[in-house]
Symmetry: C2
């Protein structure tokens, strides 16, 4: 038998993980998967962690545990700092790793369109840390409003702005609306949580531009029924600690969330290959780098055009199909077969709005309301990696659904060291508490 080929995969997301799984069935390769995190994250449900519906461990699993039974796959936690394409070496913070085949699947982060300073005031939603930070901010805003007797401040604290009207923005805004109207309704004494204002701001003429007009319109009505105001054709011109500016208008909001721009891992830029404006690496029809047929790019990091010549969207199904395609291409190479062209099979798209509404669209069919939500539930649970996650997510949902309670409403700080009493509470504009607002006995 021929020598085993060394395949290095950078990134344990949907693309990398699916490539590794497929390659693990072959005796011709030995695989090294490198990720700077120890876990694979089911990003489509990350907004549920941010909204206190799920725990991080419900939607994330250790990569090495997922690949535990793939004996020819080694998982290493570490940071890739560069690629020496001409020497076939991946540079990492623990030394150089040589490869015969390389798959780059590093994903994407947020783009603030040249306003990096906005991130501090408007966190995005790509990692578990960001999700728990958003959870902390949203829940803390309600806590601060409860203890603040100043009506102007209360209003600012109970105003939530979501920037970006794609699926993530719609899901976040819907979930905040629902949380304030149902989950938190009975928990406060001084404020009425159901009066929280939720604003969804979209620069384009309508939300959910990848969906049909009809479904986007329905989603907008569903959002409004949860108290979410949708502002379209509204470009945010400033984000700071007081809120946002949209041209001349100014909204005072304690919590601003970012679901607008996406930017691929900077690795493409660092290694000096052609990238598009969003930093995605431009690949050939077989997902390999021009001039480097043994180097592939997949998932959010790849700029790969579809039949309409537009780049494929950064969604999980694209990454999964590309990861599997690259694995098949490598095995085909070893078996002496000619290269194929990657074709994306679009099975449709979905977005959820609150507790029991969604929109779903395939080539043949459009669904709305509860039926779409059921479809969304089934698809997402089906794709969750690992039995435990599926099982617990379903239970958590069933629980939330039946009780309207959110299971993971924890405000957790960043600092673990023990504190002199009291210095970990978030800052708040200090006001003397009016003791007369004390509730009388029931």
């Amino acid at each position: 038998m021929a020598e085993t080929k060394r395949v290095v995969i950078v990134g344990g997301g949907f693309a990398g993980l699916n490539a590794a799984k497929k390659l693990s069935r072959s005796h011709d390769v030995s695989v090294t998967l490198i990720d700077r995190r120890n876990h694979h994250l089911f990003q489509p449900l990350l907004y549920q962690v941010a909204m206190a519906g799920l725990s991080p461990a419900d939607i994330a699993a250790p990569i090495r545990s997922i690949l535990s039974h793939c004996r020819n796959v080694r998982v290493l936690q570490g940071a890739v700092t560069g690629v020496e394409l001409n020497q076939s070496l991946v540079q990492t913070d623990f030394g150089d790793v040589p490869y015969d085949y390389l798959l780059l699947a590093c994903g994407a982060g947020h783009s603030y369109f040249g306003h990096a300073e906005w991130e501090e005031h408007a966190p995005g939603l790509k990692t578990i840390e960001q999700a728990t930070e958003i959870r902390r901010r949203v829940l803390t805003a309600f806590e601060q409003a409860e203890r603040n007797p100043n009506p102007t401040e209360q209003k600012r604290l109970l105003t939530f702005v979501v920037i970006g009207g794609g699926p993530t923005g719609v899901e976040l805004a819907g979930a905040i609306g629902e949380m304030s109207r149902y989950t938190l309704a009975k928990d406060f004494r001084s404020i009425d949580a159901t009066l929280a204002r939720v604003l969804l701001i979209e620069a384009g003429p309508r939300i959910l531009p990848t969906f049909s007009d009809q479904l986007a319109h329905r989603a907008m009505r569903d959002l409004e029924s949860l108290g979410v105001q949708v502002w379209t054709s509204s470009r945010v011109t400033k984000v700071d600690e007081y809120g946002v500016e949209v041209g001349d208008e100014r909204v005072r909001a304690a919590t601003v969330l970012w679901a607008a721009g996406v930017e691929a891992s900077p690795l493409g830029h660092d290694i000096g290959v052609e990238t598009d404006r969003q930093g995605r690496i431009v690949v050939s029809q077989d997902l390999s780098l021009p001039n480097y047929p043994n180097v592939f790019v997949a998932g959010d990091q790849a700029h790969c055009t579809g039949p309409d010549q537009r780049p494929l969207p950064g969604v999980a199904p694209v990454a999964i199909q590309q990861g599997r395609f690259v694995a098949a291409t490598i095995l085909g190479d070893i078996a002496g077969q000619p290269r194929q062209t990657f074709h994306y099979v679009d099975k449709g798209s979905m977005a959820t709005i609150g507790r029991s509404r969604a929109i779903a669209e395939t080539k043949r069919m459009k669904l709305t309301g509860f039926l779409a939500w059921l479809a969304w539930l089934i698809v997402h649970v089906y794709y969750l990696t690992g039995f435990r996650s599926r099982f617990f997510v379903v239970l958590n949902w069933a629980w939330s659904y039946l009780t309207f309670r959110k299971g993971a409403r924890l405000i957790v700080g960043k600092e673990w060291r023990s504190h002199p009493f009291g210095d970990e509470t978030p800052e708040v504009h200090q006001e003397t508490m009016v003791s007369e607002t004390q509730p009388s006995s029931a």
Copy 2:
């Protein structure tokens, strides 16, 4: 009816929460509970979060959600900065709060016996943040060992030291031993996780000093069967980034955990009342402050002597009974009844060692092994606050028990901002990776 009395409770732990619940049944009081965190934490199971067996939300619940139906109780998240005893005012970071009755139940943190600089290298286990930090450190040590070809470094990375042989130390050490021997056994390629060294260091002549000799001995044998070495009569003289020193001996260890000293909230010291060496406030027989009969202290913050004249231990049952006693005393005062003396009813104590062994002891009975573990399980699940927690914890345990897997093995960082590629990985002594250690195909 008489005017309602204003009761302020500081701290939403076992003492504060039980006092609030009991007071909520009366129409004569209106209660304000202040805590700098939004959640009540079931501390006896915190080690399970640190050891990746449970998610934080499984053992913590929002205080305002627990007390949602107590209409005369208001919950405020904020930091108490002082108490003006003579003016009956609690000072907080959101203003002053006046009281007719005050219950201080702020709990305790860790004491490093004058070596505050040790904390950086040996985190303790009192908060969710600390638990996830310990989880991060333990799991990261295994990750770093996997990618490090230097045997000396591997050995240091796979050495875990737990300082303090009380129940928490025993539970932590047992859980690390079990994790390395079962959960992680098949997940690594370069290292043998089952060779991890776990060291439990106790300054006194034996571990678990509050238990009988016989049970402590049994616990030690159980620990040894999980690969934990127990060093008694060993006083740690130094903790730094390389490991620990015990007199002349030096142990190189990447992970050191602190389960030794406890120190009450500094509030007792700040308000100028009598405290013991551990910062606990010395209280009268009715748990009130001498000279301030309307101010009570309960739980880990109180120094209250038992029938043997020794202070009561800092455990949940003491806090629960004291919280209820204080509530009854306040209601008795209002009803014009004379004060009673607090008597602790000791129902016994337990500690668990790994997956299916424990020790339990009451006045009449001693249990060991699986039976003690079952008793431990039932008692802990019974006391978990709120149905959701109980339900999910049982499921999580059943799952872990059946599969030997740990459900929450996430390494989560402290920083949520997006990162230029690669700068979030923990530091590691850099070594060039030997590519020959690549696994061959299975």
